[in-house]
Amino acid sequence: MSKFKFGLRQVKQLALLMNLDLTSQELSQFAKEMPQTLSAIANLNELDTQNIMPTYQTTGIVNRFQDEQINERNLDKKAIFKNAARTHHDYFQIKGLKYSK
């Protein structure tokens, strides 16, 4: 029933969007798997949703705003950098910028 086909190009594109470096093996594996998942969930089309509004929030809350003191959660330098792979003076450091904006 699988009317979905995933070309390698499409999978590559998704991998780039997700900033994932996939091996060619992984790419072909996903190209095979994804259509299977998509057909498994295709039953959603059996439900009529014309004129139905989407629900993004189940709480019903609206207009929630900040309610804290300035710098209340400020972290000190030690805390900020404690998990960083590379730092230099007071900056996070990265080597070799791979992606452009």
Partner: protein, 444 residues
Amino acid sequence: MKYKTIIGLETHVELATESKMFCGCSGNYFGQSPNSQVCPVCLGLPGALPVPNEQAIKWTVLIGLALNCQINLSSYFERKHYFYPDLPKGYQISQYAKPLCQNGYLMVNNRKIRINRVHLEEDTGKLLHGQQFNDKGSYIDFNRSGVPLVEIVTEPDVESAPQAAKYLKQLQLIIQYLNVSDCDMEKGSMRCEPNISVVNYNSWQKNQQLPDYKVEVKNINSFRFVQQAIAFEEERQALLLDKNQQPKQETRRYLESKRQTEAMRSKEFAQDYRYFPEPDIPPLELNPTLIQKLNKQLQTIDLPTQRLEKLMKDYGLSSETALVLTENKKLGDNYLRLVKNSQDLDKTKLANLLINKKIAADLNPDDFFTQAKHLLSKKNIDQATFDQTIEKVIIDNPKAVADYRQGKQTALQFLLGQCLRTLGRQIEVEQLKHLLVEKLALKK
């Protein structure tokens, strides 16, 4: 005219709110030591959640109202996904389908520049390249991450570089007068990216159809460079069209050293921001009474056109003088503050004193008037008297002159005082000081 230029302008303005857009960190990051104003939220740590800044939302609506926009009472934030090291969450919380403000306009030289949208989002951190550390690495400071950013996008109604600059100047002033941002391109609190398409004039006249290419230019940080970038693009695209080639839809970078735009490294893939409504932030349902209140507030604020009128009508200033004071808001603010009780002094002359920087603008009224009185009623002393007085003071005070030559500035003050004794205090001290220094240099 062979070609027509079609320009759309995208402007980002940093709001001067107390706290950042989605956390309580101070929003005032300029000049702070790197990574000193961050918390789990603006650092994008696992588990952190955004909570919106109410003041930023109100100020965005205020900007929208000042730009004649319709306000969307129902609005919400969305996630805009892309990867870049200065974007800690890998997505920017922004607006897409339901921006706060839409469909406004700004009149620029009697031309209506339509505003497509005014929406609210967060700023990224700052990525610096390693020149200051003498290496090739990249460095990130997240102080700016999360600062509220208002995005203002025009329709492609702008027709030329000067018109673009005029629009930007007007927009800048309005926002400065609303007191929501210092809107300064040099400080980075105002950024502009023009989108430029050059088309065949005749075909444009026929069907006004937008071409399927537009060139976005980034990395511009002054109004002058906006104009230069547009001018360069007009030429570049015209040359391509001359050869029957269609300009490519792309993003280019402006290089101020060369006054040119250059192609950025081409993206390997088509960008897809995968917008969806931000699940961590409940939607906004703005109360119509809030909009009424903000509109009322807008009436009480002097926008640039009102200030210009006030300066000309109530203060009798010429349109040129009034314009100078209007276009430099701080100067205008100080003028109005100081000249409220100008007593008998000429309002125009007082304006010129401030404009020509003869007196500092940040003085209290008493000191200001003292200095102003001196300067405005100065004696007319001829050059010869000046020369004579200075020569005599130099001859009579060898020790002080020697001290000055050794670098002692107090000696200069002393010599100046000696001159003033003779000439009387009602002269322009700066002019005298200038002459004195010149003479001392000659005599070396």
